[in-house]
Symmetry: C2
DNA sequence: CTGTATCCTCGCCGATACTG
DNA sequence: CAGTATCGGCGAGGATACAG
């Protein structure tokens, strides 16, 4: 979620390492598997698949496979997934407002 | 943070396993080391110390040691730490409103 | 293109015992 | 009471190769 926010390794996360970032990537509409791999720099297909499957089980995203050659699969935020955007925005606002204080404090403590 | 919310193993966390719960425990005022161990069921002193030290480095809590016998140490939320209560409340509200949907979806997917 | 299948590393976290 | 010391498990997640 904080990929477009401020920090590389933020102290605030939703669930696992990639879930929140995927939600942000799907905010503006459906995305293909390979389209997700790009902004999520360096995520391996195994981990991306696992994360998406977990989110699908939790009803946060929908998976649509088109029977074509080559195959095409689109992931989209479900209505439930969209409800997460609001509290995530609150967290994002906190980061913008205060994360630098936290990082400053951390650095001062070296 | 969700200890007083709804779920045992919530999909939303702040930082590591205990940070958010500690913030909640300190919400109403300073607490001693042993007072924190009780609500955080079963946290070992090593992990609690490590978590509190990290939060102290990040400027989220203040540590006050009183030179007495037996020793007494109090931990308290800093102003910066208190700013986290607001976005955490938003997440908590999300949990109350939607977490059951997520858990239902997860159960249906068995 | 969209995944699976293995293997492996690394760090969080717990258990237990001990100390000032 | 408030920690420190040591050991170890376990699972998330990365590297790499392969498949439909």
């Amino acid at each position: 979620m904080f990929s477009g926010c401020s920090a590389e390794n933020p102290p605030i996360r939703i669930g696992d390492k990639w879930t929140s970032k995927i939600i942000v990537c799907l905010k503006s509409g459906p995305r293909r598997f390979s389209e997700l791999q790009v902004p999520l720099r360096g995520v391996t297909p195994k981990v991306l698949t696992a994360t998406l499957r977990a989110m699908e089980r939790d009803g946060l995203v929908t998976r649509t496979a088109y029977p074509e050659i080559p195959p095409r699969v689109e992931y989209e935020l479900s209505p439930l997934g969209r409800t997460l955007l609001e509290p995530m925005a609150a967290m994002c606002a906190w980061s913008r407002a205060h994360l630098h204080e936290l990082l400053d404090a951390r650095e001062s403590a070296l």
